[in-house]
């Protein structure tokens, strides 16, 4: 960055004129107004009375329940997305079949469709009354909507592309030579995957999982619709924040928000620590 000569093909201003500083100021102001200031206010509100509001929040059974449920759902969704993500990525990169491009486009759908729509769609299929599969499933004692399975499905749906979009380019870059070499040396499919493919995609997978976890913890819209939002039963942390805020328990809402934000920040820190290492590996 500090090199005196600009890299060819890139227009980088060599002199730092007054305009550079104006631009920097603009960007910083923008980020402060949009991100840093509001988020820091959440932290400020949380600690307005020292640790008091955090203590009350964590002793509120409905909040601790919501936090626990959020973790349970996020972990399940991430496990599902990891297994399916790896499988789907291998399918997309290693095999050629009719409809492959359509599948690839479908995987991006959760990124573009509003989570509320995802929630409604799931209710239409799995709803206990009038859903396609819902009544049949409920007759067999398996409730999806207004219960944990539906919430896990909604969360998994929303964060599905994150693992796959990390893995696909890495798998494409690694190619199949190493896998074929392993096979010719006597390795079966499982051994090849565990000893050759997995180490090659390890860092991309970790990155995708962390992103997916952060997204799952913060999911709101889809979960709100499929959960029914029953306090102490199907209420996750994000839903709890909304309810506490509307019930004039601002301190609790801020403290819960702060906890959610801290986990996300922790995720970002983990990811940014991993990123340079993955680049070095290549």
């Amino acid at each position: 960055m500090g090199e005196p000569v600009a890299a060819p093909g890139r227009s980088r201003s060599r002199r730092r004129g007054p305009l550079t500083y104006v631009f920097r100021l603009l960007v910083i102001t923008y980020l402060v107004l949009l991100v840093a200031w509001p988020v820091s206010l959440v932290a400020k509100e949380t600690f307005a009375n020292g640790l008091e509001s955090l203590r009350t929040t964590l002793s509120d059974p409905s909040v601790t329940f919501a936090l626990k449920l959020t973790v349970i759902i996020a972990v399940q969704a991430v496990v599902i997305n990891t297994v399916f993500g790896v499988g789907m990525s291998l399918l997309l990169v290693r095999y050629r079949f009719p409809g492959r491009r359509l599948l690839s486009a479908l995987i991006d759908l959760p990124l573009s469709v509003s989570p509320v729509v995802v929630g409604l769609a799931l209710v239409l299929v799995y709803g206990g009354r009038g859903g396609w599969f819902g009544p049949t499933l409920e007759d067999h004692g398996f409730q999806v909507i207004f219960a944990t399975p539906g919430m896990v499905m909604a969360t998994a749906f929303v964060s599905l592309p994150l693992v796959i979009r990390e893995l696909v380019p890495v798998l494409e870059e690694v190619g199949t030579d190493q896998e074929q070499a392993a096979k010719s040396l006597g390795a079966n499919a499982v051994q090849t995957f565990r000893r050759i493919t997995l180490p090659a995609i390890k860092w991309a997978l970790v990155y995708g999982v962390v992103l997916s976890l952060a997204r799952s913890l913060g999911e709101f819209g889809a979960v709100k619709i499929v959960s029914g939002n029953f306090e102490g039963q199907t209420q996750t942390a994000t839903l709890s924040v909304e309810q506490k805020y509307q019930d004039f328990q601002q301190a609790t809402a801020y403290a819960t928000s702060f906890l959610l934000a801290s986990v996300s920040v922790a995720c970002i820190v983990v990811v940014s620590l991993l990123r340079p290492r993955t680049e070095e590996k290549r």
């Binding site: 030579d177 190493q178 074929q180 070499a181 392993a182 096979k183 010719s184 040396l185 006597g186 390795a187 079966n188 051994q191 000893r195 050759i196 180490p199 090659a200």
Partner: protein, 326 residues
């Protein structure tokens, strides 16, 4: 016969990669599959290894039908053009891979890896990552890795194709010596005729999905089955409608009988040889002679000369039939 290929065909969409190919590859020898790019030689090698499925035909390895066997059950060693090194494993672990898969005892693996690294002169690099090796070293590592499991046959797909000319030549000589030391049946793919002629015991020439000729390097050079083989293995010119090598032309300044008359239109001296372009009444013929011969004959531009193929020189009609030597 170690590898028996019978009636193998393979298509990629409309493209015919292999068209009913049958060939026997002898045990314990170094065989080259030689041909131009896209001729089907790599596809044949990958079908032998099981990395590609044939549409039709059968593959037999050491008397065992391998057609429907998966690659891991064929016990073949495969070496890729771009090394296919396991980047996350050390050189020693790369070589040990096949043995670890076969669950050999630790001591045995250690001893065998050491032995192989010595064989390929990489013992001091055992703990390095493949990324820290040069191309030639990586390919030697890949060879050691393939040999570690004592394969029935060793298959090399353009093994030196990604290396620079000097390393290429060194490795080629080294492969020949290695094969003399460990005479495992080896098949390697190359598009470099010099490489094939120099290293191989037997050459299979493949072009457009078909086998043009099988034979020893001398047979192929001296008795090419057709025009394609002849022109692929060395320089060729045409005299009176037959193909002949430029250095197999007898040049005289007086009609020796049966010669074709022409005028020297161009002569170029390159080191010890003199290259002539002779215009006859029907065509333009290339001829090569040594500097001494050229001086003796006193040929310069404009000299009239008589050309005829030397006694016993291979000549081929472009139709593909071998013409008996004049």
């Amino acid at each position: 016969m170690s590898i028996e290929v019978t009636g193998v065909g393979k298509r990629f969409g409309d493209f015919v990669a292999l068209d009913d190919v049958s060939v026997s590859i002898p045990t314990g020898q170094l065989t080259a599959l030689l041909g131009p790019s896209g001729g089907g030689k790599s596809t044949l090698l990958r079908i032998i290894a099981g990395l590609e499925d044939a549409d039709t035909g059968r593959i037999e390895i050491e008397g065992r039908d391998a057609t429907d066997l998966s690659p891991q059950k064929r016990n073949v060693g495969f070496v890729f053009q771009h090394y296919a090194a396991f980047k996350h494993l050390s050189v020693a672990r790369n070589v040990a891979f096949g043995l670890e898969i076969r669950k050999r005892p630790k001591d045995e693996i250690k001893a065998r890896v050491h032995e192989l690294l010595e064989l390929v002169h990489l013992e001091q690099f055992a703990d390095r990552r493949p990324g820290q090796l040069s191309g030639g070293q990586r390919q030697r590592m890949a060879l050691a890795r393939a040999l570690a499991v004592k394969p029935t046959v060793l298959l090399l797909d353009e093994p030196f194709g990604a290396l620079d000319a000097k390393v290429r030549k060194e490795l080629r000589d080294w492969l020949r010596r290695l094969h003399d030391e460990i005479p495992v049946t080896t098949v390697f793919v190359t598009h470099d005729q010099e490489e094939a002629l120099e290293v191989a015991d037997e050459i299979v020439v493949i072009n457009e999905g078909r086998i043009e000729q099988v034979g020893t390097p001398d047979q192929l050079y001296d008795e090419p089955a057709n025009d394609f083989v002849m022109s692929f293995l060395g320089p060729v010119t045409s005299l009176g409608g037959v193909s002949v090598r430029p250095h197999d032309l007898e040049i005289s300044t007086e009609d020796p009988g049966g010669g074709v008359a022409g005028t020297v239109v161009r002569s170029v001296r390159v080191g010890f040889e003199v290259r002539l372009e002779v215009r006859t009444s029907t065509e333009s013929v290339q001829a090569v002679l040594t500097r001494t011969e050229a001086r003796g004959l006193g040929v310069v531009d404009g000299t009239t000369v008589w050309l005829r193929p030397m006694l016993g020189a291979p000549t081929v009609r472009p139709t593909g039939l071998l013409v008996p030597a004049v």
